[in-house]
Subunit: 314 residues, 2 copies
């Protein structure tokens, strides 16, 4: 049972063609894949076509892969026909556990045995979703961010019965398909990005609830402030840079989280010391990969300018 | 005592010329102002010049205002000479309360009586900082985000003794000077953007502490995911759009914060119902300003594409 090379997959199947599923269809078409889609809704095909219509100009503007085209899309009459010859399956059904468990078992039964099957779920772990599948070792979560045809992130993680090589294969395939795959080694509710997003969202709600800021003030403060940097520099590298020559070590030692008085947020931070402190500092040094403060500032400014100019023109 | 028109200020003073103060100097120079700077450090002028040197190519690339130039900068021999003729003063000294209280009183004593004086503090409220000033009514916080010459945000808020018209004047001046001013009506520790940033930061630290994700996974998940959208669309408008035709009302009624089980973040959300729910929905409708789902999706995609292309080229 040899899998396809992740970089030479030609035919993928998309099961479920709502906003997320159709977004995947559009993405895979634009990257040059042959796509078989299926959705049980009576108007499933028409809805999918409308959603791909809406996405297509954006994808053309970003640049299609050689040979890519909407003529490589087929809406299949059944799930089995959709996944029958596919080298990869992306499942994007509604996020209900009973439905996911049953659907993944059906996909597993119908897809070629070497094919990796990924679920777009944002709510469930693969351990609970793979419960009724005969070959659970090839089932992974591949959680996209909306819209999947534009936002690069896919969070990839297996369940207890998933084989490590299926997770690796999925990551390599997604990268070959133009996505940015983050491979997680543990099932974490909400994965990573939604956890970060939720923490910020809850603080925003608390601020409105307490009369500290309005909806519009919060949205403006984010988009005119830290949101601009977060488009290309995450919180760790941002604070590593803010630490100057001493980097993250300086930040953690001189401005330990929670040192603001009174607290700037309602979420209590962990104590960052000892091995945890060292792990974070090392992670930042790995990520900086030899770039010193001046190189990071140069890169930050270059990217900030690019983003500011782009948004001004858009 | 008539203030200058906010849009026709020519001469501003920057007190304190570290990273933030020199960033302000660079910004005001690029927008065409005459700038007087002062810093008590023996190498203050040299350091300021190095920092402005480093910022200048970025500012030229973004486009200078007509008549703008570095020849309009003067490093003054004393605080009094720096602020003497200035129509606006930006104070960016180190964030120590005793120092700020004393320095603001000195600036207040030396600046023309109609001049608004803003502090870059990220740590203190103006009520505590204005304690020893003779004319506290013209003292405001004008909190920038680093680097001030590129990130547009300035959070503006007064203290208990600040006149409302000074806050309004500062906002109008900053907007005329090319910044995005968010006027706050209450003193809140951390203002808005740092609160949002801290909430996300603490969740990120908790994830590393618990072994749920690494430094690099978190940074990648943010920059390849929600960070890209937050460069132009804040959390409220993002979820208003995610609610489809029903907007934020649909989101709050069908996915109330805290409904994920198990929780996606360690921060417990407020209960969002009744008047709070309505306030948030109205805030989103005001911000959407008549744009329906399809218009918002079109705008989101256009801006996402612009940002993605810009970052690809940078």
């Amino acid at each position: 049972m040899a899998r396809h090379e992740p970089g030479s997959v030609d035919h993928v199947a998309c099961i479920g063609a709502g906003v997320i599923g159709s977004g995947w269809v559009a993405h895979f078409l634009a990257r040059g894949y042959r796509v078989s889609a299926w959705d049980p809704a009576p108007d499933g095909e028409a809805r999918m076509n409308r959603l791909v219509d809406a996405a297509w100009p954006a994808l053309e503007s970003l640049g299609l892969a050689p040979g890519a085209g909407r003529d490589r899309l087929r809406f299949a009459p059944s799930l089995a026909e959709a996944v029958g010859g596919a080298a990869f399956v992306q499942e994007s059904a509604p996020d209900r556990l009973d439905l996911k468990v049953k659907l993944l078992a059906e996909i597993d039964a119908a897809a070629p045995p070497e094919t990796v099957i990924a679920s777009s779920t944002s709510g469930f772990g693969m351990t609970e979703m793979q419960a009724q599948s005969a070959r659970p070792e090839r089932l992974v979560v591949g959680h996209p961010f909306n819209p999947p045809y534009l936002v690069p992130l896919v969070e990839v993680v297996g369940g207890e019965k998933t084989a490590a090589d299926a997770v690796d294969w999925a990551c390599a395939f997604y990268e070959a398909a133009g996505k940015t795959a983050v491979k997680m080694t543990r099932e974490v509710p909400g994965f990573i990005a939604n956890r970060l997003q939720e923490a910020l969202w809850y603080e925003a709600l608390h601020m409105v609830a307490a009369g500290e800021a309005t909806v519009e003030e919060i949205d403006t403060a984010l988009t005119a402030g830290p949101g601009l940097r977060w488009a290309f520099m995450g919180p760790f590298l941002t604070f590593h840079l803010a630490g100057g020559e001493g980097g993250m070590g300086h930040m953690l030692d001189h401005w330990p989280p929670g040192s603001m008085d009174p607290a700037w947020t309602r979420l209590v931070p962990p104590r960052v010391e000892g091995a945890l402190r060292d792990r974070i500092v090392e992670g930042c040094e790995d990520e900086a990969a030899g770039r010193d403060t001046s190189a990071l500032i140069g890169e930050r400014d270059r990217k900030l300018i690019a983003v500011l100019k782009a948004l001004r023109e858009a």
